[in-house]
């Protein structure tokens, strides 16, 4: 990988982010009665999309909002403008990533999303988000924040609304912990504006995820597992190279990168390695990964974005497959999937890469890999507690499978697995090593704690729910 290319400046990036920041500052104080400085921020956002098809609608939205007479549609237009700007930042960053990895990129066009969603619940969500925008992060109080609870509870059981519900749930919990607003010493302005605008767009009809467009038949070679969680939700994503049956030798399709996801809502007391218990029964790929196996897919639904819509009926465990062999041999020739239009955002960049021959350098608390003379920061903070991988193992490693990410102005690598030396023997340690189960002492202890927590809650639920 050409790490040097990741450090190059991108033309126009600072200007695009400056317009985003201007809007984000306006949201900090709230849009109920905008002051001149906030009005200027709204105008800056509108001007940044002046040359796009959004121009007229965003200009009107900025003007009405500055005058304190914004409707929900105006807020949605502002969210769209901000999302479009960050989409352009995403595209520029991904061009840089493709140059650095040297891998081909998929160019498939996206069909329009279909599917019907419960419009009244989406409208309720949008109404809550509009209340947030009016009060601003500094004006938050418990009454405003708690308005989300009922909407989320009604949405969560509906799988068509799970995506927006999970976002609103995590966002509301975060806002609630920072209430009342003025007590929060500092405000994560970019983050909350991100979550706000994404939620706003997801409440619009047709903004749900891209539809299934094909089925996948062939061999899945896992690279690693990325875990994500907030207090009441968890998602595991298996990143893998998919080799379509037939293969390139016989003129078949090229190998490409795909993801298999499984997620679950959870009580906030089920944490650490315990989360695998919630996910394991619903995706055989987790057990296959822990066993070091490939997976044979037959007619597995897949989206243009490279997301397998997993069902165990379409998968069975295959031959042993070493993720490091996959990373060395299959990954360089695999095609990266394109991002769905609405998912284009820098925080959504999570590109599998393989590194070796680097030197690990530690400065204070920060770890970096020096790749061909260029430092690449290691995001050790994203190594999950729910696995055997540790920052120490990463610092002592000689080869790494990771996800290239971008945040707050720079690229970093999130380790998914490393090769390191333990007692003079080379071993591989995987962040997702416990996905299918573990004999590790700490892992077993954490799983038991979570199992106990769930059995207490189930017992309480049996006595107290539906009475």
């Amino acid at each position: 990988m050409r790490a040097d290319l990741l450090a190059e400046a991108i033309a126009g990036l600072d200007e695009a982010l400056a317009a985003v920041d201007a809007f984000d500052r306006a949201l900090v104080a709230g849009l109920l009665r905008p002051q001149p400085v906030q009005a200027a921020g709204l105008t800056q956002l509108a001007q940044a999309v002046a040359g796009t098809p959004l121009a007229a609608r965003v200009a009107e939205a900025a003007e009405k909002t500055a005058a304190g007479v914004a409707s929900e549609d105006h807020f949605a237009a502002l969210a769209a403008a901000r999302t479009a700007l960050l989409g352009s930042v995403h595209d520029a960053l991904m061009t840089q990533v493709a140059d650095a990895t040297g891998r081909p990129r998929g160019q498939d066009a996206f069909p329009a999303p279909g599917g019907q969603q419960a419009a009244n619940l989406l409208a309720a969500g949008r109404s809550w988000l509009s209340d947030l925008a009016r009060s601003g992060w500094q004006g938050l109080d418990n009454d405003v924040v708690s308005g989300a609870a009922q909407v989320v509870s009604a949405m969560l059981p509906d799988l068509a609304l799970r995506r927006v519900a999970t976002l609103l749930d995590g966002f509301a919990a975060e806002l609630g912990s920072s209430c009342p607003g003025p007590a929060a010493e500092r405000i994560p302005a970019r983050r909350w504006a991100d979550l706000w605008s994404r939620a706003m767009l997801l409440t619009l009809p047709g903004a749900a995820g891209p539809p299934v467009t094909a089925v996948a038949t062939g061999r899945l070679l896992p690279l690693g597992i990325d875990l994500q969680e907030h207090a009441t939700a968890v998602q595991a994503q298996v990143h893998a190279v998919f080799e379509p049956a037939g293969g390139t030798e016989s003129g078949g399709a090229r190998p490409r990168l795909v993801r298999a996801s499984v997620s679950a809502p959870k009580p906030d007391t089920v944490i650490g390695a315990g989360v695998w218990q919630l996910l394991r029964p619903h995706m055989s790929a987790l057990a296959a990964f822990s066993e070091g196996r490939s997976i044979d897919l037959a007619d597995m639904p897949v989206t243009t974005e490279g997301d397998l819509i997993w069902s165990d009926d379409h998968a069975r465990p295959g031959e042993p497959a070493d993720p490091f062999a996959t990373a060395r041999v299959a990954l360089p020739a695999a095609t990266d999937p394109p991002a769905a239009p609405l998912d284009r955002h820098p925080a959504r960049i999570a590109v599998p890469v393989f590194l070796e021959g680097y030197a690990a350098r530690k400065n204070d608390d920060a770890l970096a890999f020096i790749v061909a003379g260029h430092p690449l920061v290691v995001d050790t903070d994203r190594i999950p507690a729910a696995g055997p991988l540790t920052p120490q193992a990463v610092a002592a490693s000689g080869a790494c499978i990771g996800l290239l990410r971008w945040d707050a102005g720079s690229f970093s690598i999130q380790p998914l697995a490393v090769e390191t030396t333990v007692r003079k023997r080379a071993v591989a340690v995987h962040a997702g090593g416990w996905a299918g189960g573990t004999a590790d002492k700490d892992g077993v202890k954490a799983e038991k704690a979570a199992a106990d927590a769930m059995s207490v809650l189930r017992e309480r639920a049996g006595r107290l729910l539906r009475k």
């Binding site: 975060e174 969680e229 207090a231 919630l278």
Partner: protein, 167 residues
């Protein structure tokens, strides 16, 4: 704006820590209170809904059937003390103290020092009106157990990094 303010994926809420749930199945810092549900020591069908408000330390304790707690007469009952203990286990003493706006004059905050500091102000006792919304938030947590997992991707979870491994 600082890097922190310009980060999309910064962790705003520290991860909760594991604890045993048998005695206090639910505790949270929400709606301006440390609040939760404490299992009765004598009756398996009964739970107490307990809370302490930030700032004023206004406290309340009653059963899920709205009967007042016999122990909470002018001072914190055992249920509220258990709630504070478990809240400190789940969130850490510092976060509980900060949320409740408890100043610990010297030394690190602990469940004991937080309880003592609040008790010393002779906090007022509230009525049982707060119990219903707290209990319904507990039932809401229990309902999460009944929701089906899904395999459609949730792209927004990229904004939520996992609880980190200890460095």
């Amino acid at each position: 704006m600082s890097d922190w303010e310009k980060s999309s994926t910064v962790r705003v809420i520290p991860s909760a820590r594991p604890r045993k749930l048998a005695k206090v199945p639910f505790v949270e810092l929400a709606n301006g209170r440390l609040q939760g549900v404490v299992s009765s020591g004598s009756d398996i069908e009964r739970v107490y809904v307990s809370s302490v408000a930030a700032g004023t330390y206004l406290f309340a304790c009653s059963t899920n059937n709205n009967r007042p707690c016999g122990g909470a007469r002018g001072y914190f009952c055992n249920h509220i003390q258990a709630l504070i203990n478990e809240g400190v286990l789940q969130y850490g003493a510092e976060r509980v103290a900060r949320y409740l706006r408890v100043e610990i004059a010297d030394g690190e905050p602990s469940a004991q020092s937080i309880t003592a500091a609040m008790s010393a102000t002779r906090p007022p006792q509230g009525d049982a009106a707060v119990a219903a919304p707290v209990f319904s938030r507990f039932l809401r947590q229990l309902a999460y157990l009944e929701l089906a997992p899904a395999t459609a991707p949730l792209p927004e979870m990229q904004w939520f990094p996992p609880a980190p491994a200890e460095a």
